[in-house]
Symmetry: C2
Amino acid sequence: MLSEFDLIKHYFVRPSHAAARATLGIGDDCALLTPTPGMQTAISSDMLVEGRHFFAGADAFKLGHKSLAVNLSDLAAMGARPVAFTLALALPAADRDWLAGFAAGLFALADAHGCELIGGDTTKGPLTICITVFGELAPGQALRRAAARPGDDLWISGTLGDARLALAGYWNEVTLSEAEQQASAVRMHTPTPRVALGRLLAEQGLAHAAIDISDGLVGDLGHILKMSGVGATMEVDALPAGPVLATRDAALRRAYTAAGGDDYELCFTAPAGARAAILAAADSVGTPVTRVGRIEAETGLRLVDAGGQALDLRLAGFDHFAS
Amino acid sequence: MLSEFDLIKHYFVRPSHAAARATLGIGDDCALLTPTPGMQTAISSDMLVEGRHFFAGADAFKLGHKSLAVNLSDLAAMGARPVAFTLALALPAADRDWLAGFAAGLFALADAHGCELIGGDTTKGPLTICITVFGELAPGQALRRAAARPGDDLWISGTLGDARLALAGYWNEVTLSEAEQQASAVRMHTPTPRVALGRLLAEQGLAHAAIDISDGLVGDLGHILKMSGVGATMEVDALPAGPVLATRDAALRRAYTAAGGDDYELCFTAPAGARAAILAAADSVGTPVTRVGRIEAETGLRLVDAGGQALDLRLAGFDHFAS
């Protein structure tokens, strides 16, 4: 029988190393972090619930990755550098294989971003994963949702819609070949948080507003527009579709790129004068970016086709309490 | 129908005020905190699961209080000043009465400690509450579990065992009058985190090691002893019993004070020379403290009666994966 303390010690406590960020890590009442002088701390929490955010029986390694990835994506959308995180975990049972897989997926991504697990909680309960992540950034650099300005370009990182397409495949809403299902599922299960791009946009002062796309672009962009008191025109057919979705018809491409969800790409606004610098920054970190519209003083979001004609798409962001 | 965003806006976003700690609070991808120059950040996470940490149908106001109290108790055990917290909440449904009660209990305690809600997450799922709390303290002041020294006195704040007695009453393990059940249940449902005491012990450098008693004194003290590489002799009949438990026989008093659980009192060690200062500090914040034993070089915990005779109590700390 694996006790709570053995579980933490065996799967989550790692040898301390010279680069450790925490002054005091796992094993006391609190962890202690010593902030870098002059820097602000960016903080975000996300909770993932079995049957809601992932299927029962989901692969533990991928779940470890995704649990941290969705939190790092929030830091990316702020332009912050990842520093550390806490993990609170409710588990139906202390299953060694599951724990080993989860920890491996979690730490692989954490190590890639120099983000240290500094504390948390484990308890018995319905499988629920709650991560709180900490980042740093210089005062005034944060990419806030309220900072979009009329005249800004509207940009999207990477590609959209393949995660939603994978879900549609699992639900038999669309027919996918095995290869297509696998390729699109990579985006659904192991999203790539755009941390390096977000940091460059913030540090170089290239972007005004940013948000990460988790509940569908149209809904998430809506938060930027509302909080900034502005509107936008967005060219739906310019939205970069994931490689599997790109082979599908226009109606599905439009629906899943504009309102798919689970993309974890960045949507950001920036002045037209920053175009060349943004393309150079994106290229330097290997993350493609696409210009898809323009911020305008008139409130509301206007969706248009390649010819500039209005599109009346019935799209909605994901709301956890509406379904 | 209450949407996710309406829910957050209506129940958890509060008017900003001059004393706000957060540079940027609820409503963006991350919250932003500006650390006080030169201070360390203390961080703790606790997750509460329905049916595990509280009964199904538990009073929402008290649950709001307790969810934050158990986290503030971790800051108290470190000696840190509360600053802010995040709340991640999985709810089976967006019940307005429940949300209003939970928020009222949560904010009443938060306001009493000047601790600001700066962000979080809400989702549908089995009722689960995950709070991550942030505090500040000066470098070198933290009351660490590993800091107990042979010759230290062993101290307990407040009283122990009434929370466990209330649970025994609910489970019909003991017979309590209605008044006794109510009085003891206050300790179980609305514990008082010893924040002011913890801060004084740290700021005045009075204590060496500290821990908050959540899983039973013997088990939690065991963490101090193990991490400090020391042992202790503790006089079980000197343990301060809660007012209801104090009326019960010695066997029950011994069992529930020594290993009851859910007490959220502080167990701390301090040099004998600090006795007068500790009593004065405790008196200044209205929290009684009791000296119950002594830290010794010989490892292990020796339980003795008032005459110094060894007691062989079969006690165990609470382990979330052992039951």
